[in-house]
Symmetry: C2
């Protein structure tokens, strides 16, 4: 019982060996992550089209929940860019940004995707995420990065632009260009430029100042904090809000309200697809970050338990007025580098954010939206990965096409269409390939017992005995293809008297394929050709024994191909095979 | 050029060698099929909810079109039961049975599915039909047979019942039971009983009278003609129409009108899914009949050209006021047995039906609907195949579940939902299985060069070298599973210093799997474990060479597993492997 509890509550495992040293390390990491998370949570709430405090709310309880249920020792859960974009895409289909309904939908998305993740975890159904192929994920993330960056340009320009895909966004921006607010533009451009500079040059500078590489790396992450503090001061001192610079304004002070979202069957149903996509994309991102970090310390994470951890985090987010969360890459890497040893670091971060929510929000009054937009733009451009596209092109045209289709559809239609089309394309291409498996007509290599492809090797064949080796399990989608292949090589060839199907690569024969084998047998029989099998695997043979096939088979099942050729030739033609072709 | 023309117009091939003997044989077959087709076409039009003449129209031009474009020498194209049911299901979603819109939709369904088949044929995309697995098809046909039989009971009872699934139909029948028309019931029951008797006992009787088995078989098919002639006479003589027996009544005399269906974008779009299902189900049924018959004479059919033939037939049907057609099993078998040698037999049948349409329709005035319903019921009950269900249960529980789901959903929800769910379930189950491929930790058998599963064979292993053999191509859906499998056996095992992935069954590695291999390599590296591959196939190796993987690989790629073990042990431990475990 204890063992089982510990499986679902990893805190019971690491909590037992928690020491003062661990506490100090986790605490230090928590302080650094808190400083990084405050601007991020505000910025991603902005990206999701939500009030800034919602980002803070999503960074408190979810972290506590993950600390209890999560298995990664370094993952920093909270709002992330891609999931924020998807939340905006899903919510703005059903409500106007800024309306109470919009917020309610964002909260519901967290609740439903949380429940989905939890259920998938309890049923150990994490394999569903495997159907998102890497080209589709990286294409989707690249396209999302581009979309997000363009969607934030309006805040840099200080105009009201709209649009859910690249075409709409660019058209709307061009239209509103004349309305650009100059002070906003100056803040936005300076902030963006500074952040790019920090990202590229701050780490070496800090290293020259004597910091270790690791600490310099962490220090370079404070760029957004500098931007935010400076821009708040600038707006307050020069009274820029009066000159049209949009600011964050009043953020409700105090901890998030606990509330159970309303149950509206129709609304729930219309959010199911979006919630599933958010759940799976979030899970895939999070698990890959967690796995990368765990590997560095030779630790392991349990993907099914991760589903539970992320599920409970999202449910916690929804119950405390937050929106969908997941493990973020940049933040988790900082947490890891800063020395976080257990999920407790996440719990301490939650305390930090809660304190900020209680006491810090009045200081954020003058924070210009343009500064937040700048932090988003600089953060998401690292998602755009041209290298992966080149790599896919070189490696496989199939994977490249799936990736490009995902990027193109995500940019031109939207995030949900992009992901769904990508998944459909990669599954479709896989099915297509497996529906036309490789096969070879084989012959005997010299006087050995080996049989190889007649088109690649110098082999001995017998014009009366045709052997076909099929290199795939036989199932409904390729059963007819096999039939056609066999008919093609036998029915127009009057010399053939025996056909051997060589099955060393056949791991399964389903009912459709069995019926095809029966059809082949019957058809060859009516053409006076005997049908044999060779090298059938044990489990497949067990299955065949449960059918009529073996009784109806005109020929025999041989253990080895060599055995087959030898015995057929001796029985039928009274000769050893190799010498009589 | 000539060759290419003959490919798309098979008539050019068989037409060149057409003789007087062939003509006589084709003509005889055509007469027999015409006699059989007249009641069938009326009955299936009734089943589709269409006026009787529409069935006749669908039996003229489509047959001529198939004679020109089809490759099967015995296939008899025309209205069939399952496609008629599907036409009714699709049309009654959008219009009231009996209305002009309903007829227009039926005609449009023929046009759209015809165009779809033609396009699939031109693009050689017949493989799409392979994704309908045998359990799904046979489950669907069995369920359709049951649905059709129940849907015709109202005509036997002479009541107006409705419903698109079994539950609705039975409820409606029970409700209307008190309104049963006794004379109709008597005709229906007598006709059904007689047809069952003919089906079972007429062939032996005819054989006793001296007919050959083949001719007796053909003679036994005239049952419906006897029923129709007798019932027309009974109704006319006893004036049963006045006692509430519903009759066919006036059938417009003359050949079908040539008309191009109207183009209504919205209507077309809403019929796309139904048309695709009708096209694919019709194609699958037709091709399997054609293949069965072709095999008996060691002939071949070309599935892609069959798509073109059926496509043009359906377009011809639509342009001449008919509804979707395909190759029917019973009729084709009679055509074949009656000696049809070329598709010209279909052309002659078309002439027969055209003559009937011109001159015979007044004689059908008194034909009772109940008699037609009886012929449908007796015909479709042969579609219900309990044996296949048993066979699926014995052979494979996976196939059995797909079949039962299809049957259940077809009966309770409807034909389209049944087919789509069946396809989704079989593809889903296939993907699920291939996402968790079989793998084995292997060791060396004795002092041979063979390596087998440690759990099944008595093998020698080395605690510092772990070899895992994966029995499936590596692709996105199983890439993470492989990662987990390798981590599970290495990261918790402090002794392991080398991991070898043995790849004799890997036919492809896609980009996702490549990234998983890179992740495995990196992760094992950070745990100080060297990663090797063995027995990688040539084409897979070519692909790997186009990536960074081989440069990053901590270990080596060995041609054979034996080579791998030997060289790793000598290099790393300065010993032959077998003796130092």
């Amino acid at each position: 019982m204890t063992f089982k509890l510990a499986k679902y509550f990893p805190i019971l495992t690491w909590g037992r060996t928690y020491t003062k040293d661990t506490f100090v390390n986790d605490g230090m990491a928590a302080i650094i992550v808190t400083v990084m998370l405050i601007p991020q949570s505000l910025a991603y709430a902005l990206l999701a089209g939500l009030p800034p405090q919602v980002g803070l709310y999503a960074s408190i309880l979810p972290l506590v929940a993950y600390a209890i249920f999560g298995t990664s020792r370094a993952l920093a859960v909270g709002p992330v860019a891609v999931v924020s974009l998807m939340t905006a895409a899903a919510a703005s289909k059903l409500a106007l940004q800024g309306s109470p309904e919009y917020l309610a939908i964002a909260i519901l998305l967290a609740l439903i995707s949380g429940v989905m993740l939890l259920v998938m975890g309890l049923f150990r159904a994490g394999f569903i995420a495997n159907f998102l192929s890497h080209p589709v994920i990286s294409g989707f993330i690249t396209a999302s990065g581009i979309l997000i960056a363009f969607s934030q340009l309006k805040h840099i320009l200080g105009v009201k632009a709209t649009g859910h895909n690249l075409v709409e966004i660019i058209r709307s921006l061009l239209e509103k260009l004349p309305e650009t607010n100059i002070p906003t533009l100056i803040i936005g451009v300076l902030a963006t430029g500074f952040l790019f500079w920090v990202r590229k040059n701050f780490k070496p500078v800090l290293q020259k100042l004597g910091l270790s590489e690791k600490h310099a790396g962490i220090g370079a992450r404070v760029g957004p904090v500098i931007v935010i503090v400076t821009s708040i001061l600038a707006v307050a001192i020069f009274n820029l809000a009066d000159q049209g610079v949009k600011i964050v304004g009043d953020i409700p002070k105090g901890l998030p309200p606990f509330a159970v979202p309303e149950f509206d069957m129709g609304l729930w149903r219309s959010l199911l697809a979006s919630s599933l996509i958010i759940a799976i994309i979030g899970f895939v991102e999070s698990v890959s970050v967690a796995q990368t970090l765990a590997a560095k310390r030779r630790q392991r994470i349990d993907p099914d338990q991760e589903l539970i951890g992320l599920g409970v985090s999202n449910i916690a987010s929804a119950l405390s007025g937050g929106y969908p969360v997941t493990g973020g890459f940049a933040r988790s890497a900082v947490n890891f580098d800063a020395g976080a040893e257990t999920p407790a670091a996440g719990g301490f971060t939650a305390i930090g954010i809660a304190l900020a929510t209680l006491f810090l929000t009045p200081l954020l009054y003058f924070l210009p939206i343009a500064a937040l937009a700048a932090t988003i733009i600089v953060a998401v451009l690292s998602l755009v990965n041209i290298e992966t596209i080149k790599q896919a092109w070189q490696y496989s045209k199939t994977d490249f096409s799936a990736m490009m289709a995902t990027i193109f559809l995500t940019l031109t239609i939207g995030v949900e269409a992009g992901v769904m089309a990508g998944v459909a394309i990669s599954i479709g291409m896989f099915l297509f390939r497996s529906s036309r498996p490789h096969y070879a007509i084989v012959g005997q290599v010299g006087h050995t017992e080996h049989f190889r492809n007649v088109t690649r090797h110098d082999v001995i064949t017998n014009s009366r005995v045709l052997t076909l080796r099929i290199d795939e399990s036989l199932y409904f989608a390729n059963a007819r293809y096999l039939e056609d292949a066999i008919y093609e090589h036998t029915l127009d060839n009057d010399k053939v008297e025996h056909v051997i199907l060589m099955c060393p690569a056949v791991n399964d024969i389903d009912l459709s394929a069995l019926e095809s084998l029966e059809a082949i047998n019957a058809r060859l029989k009516s053409a006076n050709i005997t049908f044999h099998l060779s090298e059938v695997k044990g489990p497949v043979m067990d299955k065949l024994k449960r059918s009529h096939f073996l009784a109806d088979l005109t020929g025999e099942v041989f253990l080895s191909q060599h055995d087959a050729i030898k015995r057929i030739c001796i029985n039928a033609y009274d000769h050893e095979p190799e010498y009589y072709l």
